[in-house]
């Protein structure tokens, strides 16, 4: 079997296992969605009832909610591996370390994509933003943003999963690294909602693509060191 086919098989097996465990236990879904909804509502209350103000702030709120809830989601996905020595067993399988990273990141990406789309819909309803007319660039932004959060989150969740203070350490490590993604995703969302009057959407999406490529490659290359004791 070729290396690529073997890596793909392993990554899909891990992602499928995470999805199955999530469907059974619902460790991540419920808490993450509630958290995102609470973040959106609190920001809404803080900004007041002015609908123009809320609409203007919507792209920033959308991505803050996605990123904050994303920290929770990737942490929960890695907590599965703390079941009775599961992480050590995962590391002992005769498979490429990059394939293990790819599998965990794929599961994270699926979770983040679902979260991003649901939060986008919630923003459209709560803040009276017309997302339907710009659905394609918004979808591209959510896909790229979700991949970036999953790529960074999977790596740092691997760093913190063995730590006692992982719930504190994970956002401290993850959020500064996600700053370029947050900037690019907010700007791309703003441009898409405004109809891209200055033709800047493409550049922000390119920034997101570059961020994703760098983080996925770096994560895949270094994740193996995190599995070693």
């Amino acid at each position: 079997m070729s290396t690529l086919a073997s890596d793909t098989r392993v990554a899909l097996a891990i992602a499928r296992k995470d999805a199955l465990a999530e469907l059974r236990g619902r460790h991540a879904t419920v808490s993450t969605l509630f958290f995102a909804a609470v973040v959106l509502l609190l920001f809404g209350f803080a900004l007041g009832p002015d609908s123009a103000r809320l609409a203007a702030a919507a792209p920033g709120l959308l991505w803050l909610a996605v990123v904050f809830a994303g920290v929770l989601a990737v942490n929960r996905l890695h907590l599965l591996e703390t079941d009775d020595g599961a992480l050590e067993q995962l590391a002992l399988y005769p498979v490429a370390r990059r394939a293990i990273y790819a599998g965990k990141a794929l599961a994270g990406f699926a979770a983040m994509l679902l979260l991003g789309l649901l939060v986008l819909g919630a923003v459209g309803v709560l803040f009276a933003v017309d997302i339907a007319s710009a659905w394609l660039p918004l979808l591209a932004t959510v896909v790229l943003g979700a991949l970036g959060v999953a790529a960074v989150g999977t790596f740092y969740a691997g760093v913190t999963v063995r730590l006692r203070a992982r719930e504190v350490m994970l956002p401290l490590l993850m959020l500064p690294v996600l700053a370029p993604l947050l900037l690019g995703a907010v700007k791309a969302t703003s441009a898409a909602l405004a109809g891209d009057p200055f033709g800047e959407l493409g550049a922000w999406l390119q920034l997101l693509v570059a961020f994703d490529v760098i983080m996925v490659v770096a994560g895949a290359a270094t994740y193996g060191f995190l599995l070693e004791d």
Binding site: M1, S6, R9, V10, A13, I14, R16, K17, L20, A21, R24, G25, L80, D83, D84, G85, A86, E88, Q89, L90, A91, L92, Y93, P94, V95, A96, E228, D229
Partner: protein, 269 residues
């Protein structure tokens, strides 16, 4: 024990009368490299030497017991050989492959039963084994998973989440996972712990089955009497050092590390 209900495996490739173990093509015993060679193997934890310089050769194809008191270094030696932890000093080879440089190859040749089972609580027994089969690249995975569940006596609980399993059932399932691979070296850490009478007998049968197909087994256990009929050789560890070896298929060498010589003082094999 349940009859074999669902899978009609070809009798030639998967005999149903004994536990099915799938060895790699191992060849004749005398043509194979030693299963394990360690040279001055040491591992420190927070400055304390759990292994203090173990130099050992285990020939291919036997069942070797690692004996010794708590803290003697049995589990640490198994974990280093399984590539779960790196040695602090010294070298080790499995089937002639270096555990550090050729770790990927070694992982394909070693199966390890540790104190932790490495099972996912939210998945069923069958799902856990199917995941393991996918990770191990097991051919005919669906059949092999059902066979392994049958062999470890969990066919009737295959669809139940592992969360509700007892310690003994979890250990059986972890043994089932080993049956899905084709290891040439099996490392067992206290395999008899937590098992009922049937479970104890299962481990006995596994030792016999592995031995018959030429798989090397290193087993750390306090149940020396239980193990005795199946053993080819014994290694006594004390304070992270080899305090003595006896029987066939295992040889120890004097430690060359200064720390090892120092630690050996006062240990009587």
């Amino acid at each position: 024990m349940m009859l074999w209900p669902t899978i009609s495996a070809p009798q030639t490739s998967m005999p149903q009368t004994t536990i099915y173990v799938s060895p790699r093509s191992l060849g004749a015993h005398d043509s194979r490299p030693p299963a394990v060679v360690t040279t001055d193997l040491a591992r420190l934890f927070a400055g304390n030497a759990a292994l203090a310089g173990v130099s050992l050769r285990v020939d291919a194809g036997g069942v070797i017991a690692l004996l010794g008191a708590n803290g003697a270094g049995k589990t640490t030696l198994l974990r280093v050989l399984a590539t779960a932890i790196r040695p602090s000093y010294g070298r080790a080879q499995v089937d002639g492959f270096d555990i550090d440089r050729d770790a990927d190859i070694v992982r394909g040749r070693v199966a390890y039963l540790s104190h932790a089972t490495g099972l996912y609580d939210d998945l069923t027994a069958r799902e856990n084994l199917r995941f393991a089969a996918a990770m191990l690249g097991t051919p005919d995975a669906a059949q092999r998973v059902e066979r392994a569940l049958f062999d470890v006596g969990l066919s009737d609980r295959a669809a139940d989440p592992v969360r509700g399993f007892s310690a003994g059932m979890r250990k059986r399932l972890a043994l089932g996972r080993i049956l899905l691979g084709n290891a040439s070296l099996v490392l067992l850490d206290e395999p008899y712990a937590a098992l009922d009478a049937d479970g104890l007998s299962l481990v006995d049968q596994l030792l016999v089955a592995w031995r018959e197909v030429g798989v090397t087994v290193l087993v750390a256990s306090h149940a020396a009497d239980r193990l005795e009929p199946f053993l080819d050789g014994r290694v006594l560890l004390a304070r992270g050092l080899v305090a003595g070896v006896e029987g066939q298929g295992v040889t120890s060498f004097p430690p060359s590390l200064p720390v090892a010589r120092g630690s050996l003082t006062g240990v009587s094999p």
